[in-house]
Amino acid sequence: MQQETPKQIRFVGKLDPDFVQKMWRGWKKVKFEEEMDPQFAEKVASYPGCNTLFDCIQCGTCSGICPMGSFMEYAPRKIVGMIRAGFKGEVLTSYTTWLCASCYACTVECPKNIKITDIMYALKQLAIKEHMHPRRLPIPVLARQFFEIVKKFGRNNEGKVVINMYFRTNPLLPLRNLIMGIKLYLRGRIAFTQDKIQNIPQLTKILNTVKM
């Protein structure tokens, strides 16, 4: 009996200290208040349409209805909860906001009329502003290409935006999509000429005034 007790203790002690430190990552989920950003929720709520964020009852309707929900690391309900708790880093670096296809299903279904799609837009803007968006995801790259082309010319060119995105993310992908491109071209469904608006200075003036 006397021998068994130390054995048991030794067994408990042998529960590998390395395991706790290296293998088990549960401690990463536990955060101290100092590590969170208490102002984050208010920052998000300051965007137009996002102030209903605090009404959320965490029912999960948004996560259930979201067509992209199964691809996200945090579903919309969790994102709203995390914003309110102040998990700024996790929220802004996650893929979730960028996977939102903005189909407005959650906005329509929400029992508390929270505009979740607009919250996602606010998070996207915040992530771009603070350079925290996921680097290797093509979606922010596409958004940026679209933004720059439209800002410059006033109109968009589908083919140009897509080709630019491919060269910035995965240069081999255009080869894979070449057949599709040729098929589209033969049917006259893709254009390579850049359309422009006539009064570009006027548009630039509007955009610059709004920015300030």
Partner: protein
């Protein structure tokens, strides 16, 4: 009846949705509607611009609304936007300018004023489906039908942005307007639950696996319910469901067979007896064939 016409650039008229413009023009011409293109229109900003800078996106869209007011000073300008994304973005801009006066309304109005516009917010943004069903009316369309599509099972796919989030002319959860239009053409419309489910949007180009998966769900359900053809109202949905169909078939290991995807205007024009070439049928990846005789005998059996 006359409307201002906003063609939209990102996906529709000069690019992958060319057939939509061709068929829409042919149908409206036949119904006696005159269109006037909005002069010097710019991109609406779509969903991408909003992700980078929302305020600038509102500025872009509101320029179109202000241009419409400038072009029609004496009456309420009705701006027809055929692309669902343009339609929803311009509607959203209108709503946000009214609903969030301090955050959005005032800066946008100031910016427009500095650029030499007066914005009153009287521009109405309309969708061709809304115009066909509510302004022209199903009775008038019924009179124009020359080739009734008897026996054709049509799955109406509205896409996500047509009725959401601001249901201007139809129910948010289970819209019926396109089904009624198809029934007016003599076709039988299919009741199916995925009418407003998202097709993946630009996801098929960026995160291909996810985007194709969403399109697959829609195609699979339409086929399972016995649809002969799927009609859409959005150039993005049409591109996703049709051009990527072969790739979806390969990924789902033959889970779905060829299903023609048409714009609803193409089918309206077809029933009205407009030649196929004018409706852009030659631009389709999956050809659409319909022979009423064969279908009628099937129905008798």
């Amino acid at each position: 009846m006359s409307y201002l016409y906003y063609p939209g650039c990102c996906c529709s008229m000069k690019a992958s949705g060319k057939a939509y413009e061709e068929s829409l023009m042919a149908v409206l011409k036949k119904l006696g509607v005159t269109l006037e293109e909005l002069k010097d229109w710019n991109c609406c900003g779509a969903t991408m611009y909003m992700a980078i800078d929302q305020m600038q996106a509102f500025g872009m869209a509101s320029r179109n609304l202000a241009l419409a007011e400038q072009q029609c000073p004496n009456k309420t300008p009705e701006l027809m936007a055929p692309c669902s994304a343009c339609y929803v973005v311009m509607n959203k801009t209108k709503h946000f300018i009214e609903d969030y006066k301090e955050q959005v309304g005032t800066p946008i109005r100031n910016a427009l004023k500095e650029a030499g516009f007066t914005y009153t917010g009287k521009t109405k943004v309309r969708h061709p489906l809304d115009i066909l069903v509510n302004d022209i009316g199903l009775d008038k369309i019924r009179q124009h039908v020359k080739k009734p599509l008897k026996g054709l099972k049509v799955a109406s796919y509205y896409g996500c942005l047509l009725v959401r989030p601001y249901s201007e002319f139809d129910d948010v959860h289970y819209p019926r307007s396109m089904d009624n239009l198809m029934e007016a053409l003599g076709a039988s419309s299919l009741e199916w639950p995925l009418k407003t489910r998202c097709c993946g949007g630009s996801m098929t180009g960026t995160v291909e696996d996810a985007g194709l998966r969403l399109s697959y769900i829609i195609l699979n359900e339409a086929e399972r319910r016995g649809a002969d053809v799927v009609v859409t109202a959005c150039p993005f949905c049409q591109t996703n469901l049709e051009c990527f169909q072969q790739r979806i078939q390969r990924k789902s290991k033959g889970g779905i067979s060829d299903l023609p995807i048409l714009f609803f205007t193409q089918l309206v024009g077809y029933a009205m007896g407009i030649p196929e070439r004018e409706l852009g049928f030659h631009r389709l990846f999956v050809p659409f064939h319909f022979s009423p005789k064969q279908v009628v005998t099937e129905g008798v059996e």
